[in-house]
């Protein structure tokens, strides 16, 4: 069994590490999340480009990802300024 002081020290160290992590993350949390979302949006375009009539040489590789990303499709087309689903055969709304 660990000594109580060692446990306390370990807990304090973990707390300090968590605070340091928050100090790093907190000011830019929103900016980083938005940047990540922008990257995801571009990726969504790669995956669904062919279905919307945009030729995409990578479709062969991205095809199997389509069903996996369908859940995000509605939010994505809304964010891109399309009120209704741009796909004829897939009506999410």
């Amino acid at each position: 069994m660990q000594e109580p002081w060692r446990r306390r020290f370990g807990a304090r160290l973990a707390r300090a590490r968590a605070l340091l992590g928050e100090f790093y993350t907190a000011p830019y949390r929103g900016a980083v999340a938005r940047a990540r979302r922008d990257e995801d949006d571009l990726f969504m375009l790669f995956v669904y480009a062919e279905l919307m009539g945009v030729p995409n040489p990578a479709t062969y590789y991205t095809l199997e990802l389509q069903p996996l990303l369908l859940e995000r499709f509605h939010e994505w087309h809304n964010r891109m300024g399309l009120e209704r689903s741009p796909l004829d055969h897939f009506r999410c709304c």
Binding site: R17, L19, F23, A26, P27, R29
Partner: protein
């Protein structure tokens, strides 16, 4: 007088401001409610709105507001003697800056975490919001130009700082990649990054970098061009890659720097050699009234803090009562840095050296600044902590350069956003392009940096008082928003209104004084900017009077 006495008086004063005055403001004026649902809870999305530990928010506010400006301003202002600068820093921090930062968070939290700019439109008027945008644009323009000139001057005065300062950029990128791409925890990158930062200071001393005049371009001008080229590239990089880790490194540097400087002052106990009031100011030095109050903007009160308070802080505040700890105590970061800067430039020299640095300087634009802080501070650090003088000199120079550099990074990025927004509002598609917007932003800063000081890039510090004037106007606008909210709520507004009237009046008087001197010197770019600032200041005052009278009438009118 012994510098320890000055440090102790200053620290006791600003911390008693937190202990007593901020308590009074929290209980009687802002009337903070521990049960109020802050936007971090009411609008929680785990992206922008996240309840965050108050110590973390305090650390962010403390480090975000303390940069190069609280070093440069006081280092120039001691030309009038140490007493006026010290009094303005201490009184300003206690009764102006703390109330301003604290109030900005409170006002934003009470209005769905809106930024001060949006709040100005909501609470005061749409005209006031437009004024706010103009002031912010000029503030960014000037901060970028001023800091580019300050860094360039420091690179020339301390060539040993060049390698460590640029290494910090690579260290920051390394930390960003380790954290976001490799997935390493925060501890080791912090430890290794900090060790590298301090180790390369020795490398900088071994290999000082000096530029020779090339194609008729002076070294100072070359550095300014390089810095803006860097800032343009940096502003286009993802936030996680450079800006975020650079900010983090700066935070660590600030705490280490403050520790070193205050520790050295208490151990070395140097004597303040500068006179309390300097009877021999250099020829052409402007009058202390009103110029003191714009020369020291950051360090006493700064409008820039309002942008920080209402930007990320108000969206992450866990409870409303945390606003006092985060806002008021956070604002002390700048005050404590300004106090130690005053000590460095007044106690780090012999009397003769101080006279030659200040009393015998050729012009007001040539006195003090980062170089005096580095010179004086390094001597105290060397005497107090036994650091080799060269190492201490490079250490402080790098610290100041990094503070200024990070502000430039963020400043150019923000300016690009503003230009892109203009492109959208006025339907100019070219301006919405990131590269074009960056080129416009950087171009404007270059025109100011060279237009103010000439093609050799050495006289740009003439912009400093104008930068302070703009900063104070912004602070005046934020205090106006808080005052109008207090009047609406039927609470005493004098605690924010008096600082608001004071800083706006000083800003206007300073702008009027500078107009004549800039015109006489033939600095027409600055004359044009000064005219815009004067007009803006007058409009701010009119808007203030109109909004306050409107709210008083509304409050006096019978209900129903």
């Amino acid at each position: 007088m012994n510098a320890v006495v000055l440090a102790v008086i200053g620290l006791i004063a600003v911390f008693s401001g937190y202990r007593f005055y901020s308590k009074f403001m929290a209980e009687k004026i802002y009337q903070l409610d521990p049960d109020f649902k802050t936007p971090a809870h009411a609008m929680r999305d785990d992206i922008d709105y996240v309840p965050t530990n108050r110590v973390v928010l305090w650390g962010h506010h403390f480090t975000a507001v303390a940069g190069a400006a609280p070093i440069i301003g006081p280092s120039i202002a001691v030309v009038w003697g140490w007493l006026p600068a010290f009094l303005w820093v201490v009184i300003g921090t206690m009764f102006f800056a703390g109330v301003h930062d604290f109030g900005a968070i409170w006002a934003s939290v009470r209005n769905k975490a809106l930024s001060v700019g949006s709040l100005t439109g909501e609470v005061v008027s749409h005209r006031a919001r437009n004024l706010f945008m103009i002031v912010v644009f000029f503030l960014l323009l000037m901060v970028n130009a001023v800091f580019a000139v300050a860094i360039s001057t420091e690179f020339i005065n301390t060539p040993a700082s060049v390698i460590p300062a640029w290494t910090a950029v690579f260290v920051a990128v390394g930390i960003g990649i380790l954290l976001y791409r490799v997935g390493v925890g925060i501890t080791w990158p912090t430890v290794v990054g900090t060790v590298i930062l301090y180790a390369v200071i020795y490398l900088g001393e071994l290999f000082p970098v000096t530029l020779a005049e090339t194609a008729g371009i002076a070294p100072a001008a070359q550095w300014i061009l390089i810095l803006f080229l860097y800032a343009a590239v940096a502003s286009m990089l993802p936030v996680w890659l450079l800006l975020q880790p650079r900010d983090y490194i700066n935070g660590i540097q600030l705490f280490v720097g403050l520790g070193i400087l205050y520790g050295a002052v208490f151990i070395a106990a140097p004597t303040v050699v500068a006179p309390p009031i300097n009877p021999n100011v250099p020829a052409g030095t402007p009058p202390i009234m009103p110029l003191l109050f714009v020369t020291i903007a950051c360090g006493a009160i700064s409008g820039f803090h309002g942008l920080v308070s209402s930007g990320t802080t108000s969206k992450q505040l866990n409870t409303e009562t945390d606003a006092r700890f985060v806002g008021y105590l956070g604002s002390l970061g700048e005050g404590t840095l300004a106090i130690v800067a005053i000590i460095a430039v007044t106690a780090g020299f012999s009397m003769t050296e101080w006279q030659s640095a200040y009393a015998n300087a050729e012009s007001f634009g040539a006195v003090g600044g980062i170089s005096a802080f580095v010179e004086g501070g390094s001597r105290i650090a060397s005497e107090g902590l036994g650091l080799p003088i060269g190492f201490a000199q490079t250490l402080l120079a790098v610290m100041a350069v990094l503070f200024a550099g990070t502000t430039m990074d963020a400043g150019v990025r923000l300016q690009r956003y503003i230009v892109q927004e203009w492109g959208t509002i006025y339907r100019i598609p070219a301006l919405t392009n990131g590269y074009v917007a960056t080129a416009v932003a950087v171009g404007a800063c270059l025109v100011l940096a060279f237009g103010a000081g000439g093609a050799d890039g050495t006289g740009g510090m003439i912009i400093w008082p104008l930068f302070g004037t703009t900063n104070q106007l912004l602070a005046g606008l934020t205090l106006l928003v808080i005052s109008v909210m207090l009047v609406k709520l039927g609470r005493p507004a004098r605690y924010t209104l008096i600082p608001m009237v004071f800083v706006t009046t000083m800003a206007l008087l300073a702008a009027l004084y500078q107009l004549s001197s800039l015109y006489a010197e033939g600095r027409y770019v600055l004359v044009a900017i000064d005219v815009v600032i004067i007009i803006t200041a007058i409009f701010v005052m009119l808007e203030a009077a109109s909004a306050l009278m409107r709210e008083r009438r509304a409050a006096a009118a019978p209900a129903g």
